[in-house]
Amino acid sequence: MERFTVKAIQNMLSEKQISATELFDLYRSRIADYDQSLNAFITSDIQPNAAYMTDDQDQESPIDFALTGIPYAAKDIFCTQGIKTTCGSKMLENFIPPYDATVVRRLKRQGAVLLGKTNMDEFAMGSSSETSYFGSVHNPWDIERTPGGSSGGSAAAVAAGLTPIALGTDTGGSIRQPAAFTGITGLKPTYGRCSRYGMVAFASSLDQAGILALSAEDTAIFLESMAGFDPLDSTSVEESVPQYSQYLEENIKGKIIGLPKEFFDGSLGSAYEALIAESINSYKKLGIVFKEISLPNIGYSVPTYYVVAPAECSSNLARYDGVRFGYRSQNIEDLDEFYRTNRQIGFGQEVKRRIITGTYVLSAGYYDAYYLKAQKVRQLINQDFARAFESVDIILGPTTQTAAFKLGEKIDDPVSMYMNDMYTISANLAGLPAISHPIGFVENLPYGLQLIAPHFKELDLLSLTHQYQKVTDWHQAVPRLLQSSEGND
């Protein structure tokens, strides 16, 4: 079974080798055949017409069909008009938004076709896609393992060829870590690059919409259409959107990549270290220069994040009370009991844990010691990056400590699960764009490398990755699930 890139599909469609409907049906049947073992999708019975439903608020007519007929999947955290949006939670099990998220609307306007809504950690809280109310997602490389989280469904679907490309969200690494665990490319853009309107909020100052794809080129093609200022999002930035896909071949010779010594302190297993060393060599051959740098406060990333993110989420999730939408218990006469029961039944354990943590760190007596302190440490981390970028163009590090772990391995040990995010979190704290791309295998499991750039330098990330992907083929390796499949398409 072949995994078609978006680029390839664009050619196939323009050369009329296949029609958009045939393409859609092709992916639809792949999902039907293979998703049982992955559980990557929550909703996959979307009719193409539904994807083209006009939004009565959308007055503009499409001016440029950059993505005509390209199927894509969206993490079930993106509101899709008329289509169930669950956030992997019982709380929103039957929620049908009357509006599209801005990024969804933009893709729709460019002619992209929504295939399905992918499974995820509940309300994006998790690093393994095991906290979903709709069951865990499985890694197509080894179905006993996690594909990562919280955008595990999107990652698994792309890696397994069930969709050419998918949207995800990244708050602490939720696009990059699953990309690394499933051997694909995952981009978290600069905070404010893509609109957050219609993207259900987890941690507002950290969340960003992003892309999981088979290549940097595909990522660039979609980013062009998704990114850009949105007046509906006060945190979105009025920064022009480059035609990323046109500049992937830009000259990268002489670019300086910084290697933070804190990332390379010897704690990584030797097999992983070897892969990173090999990719550094590949980059050197492309003309990249490397330099050691220091991000002295980076070790505080995880505790900082686990104060800020839960604090914001505890407030963001207060709206889920069963009154206007969402899970609602019947026959309760006391208001307080009503709220509590709705939220007890509607939310899973990780969500409750984060709400409790967040409420605690904001509560009277603790605000200064925790929340305020964390926001100050965040500033320290931001300053570290700013200083580093004075002497380097890009920063390189591992995406994860190891390859994908087994399902069930960490679910009862929250702190151990949280430590998974140690390399990825700092980019969210500083709002920096970051990408993960595959660099090889350890015991037949994919492993990834992370590049972090200054604000709005997504092009550097994409061109470096693209040129790396021209001289390597890790990103083209196909999971066993597909290799063992028979099936003609």
Binding site: Y191, V307, K373, Q379
Partner: protein, 95 residues
């Protein structure tokens, strides 16, 4: 900072969560572990550092005072099972 059972109960009051009796000790242990991890922050030197609320040094955009929203009540209320005469209904609030 050690967290106690009554702390958890108070937090649940504030955030309108219910925990089963047998869940409480588990949450208590997990919260203790999490707080221990967070405690690491205290060793950071943040003297004279301004807290960062946003990654970008931006200011709030202002919107013109024009009404553009029209009535979509019937569509919006489709997501609630307890609506009567256009009102949302909740268990009676006693003041």
């Amino acid at each position: 900072m050690t967290i106690t059972k009554s702390d958890i109960e108070h937090i649940c009051d504030l955030s309108k969560l219910n925990l089963d009796d047998d869940e409480v000790p588990i949450y208590l242990q997990q919260m203790t572990d999490i707080l221990e991890m967070i405690e690491q922050l205290q060793s950071a030197d943040t003297n004279e550092i301004i807290p960062m609320a946003h990654p970008l040094d931006m200011h709030q955009r202002l919107r013109e005072d024009i009404v553009t929203e029209t009535n979509h009540r019937d569509i919006y209320q489709k997501n609630s099972s307890h609506v009567e005469e256009g009102f949302y209904k909740v268990p009676k609030v006693i003041e």
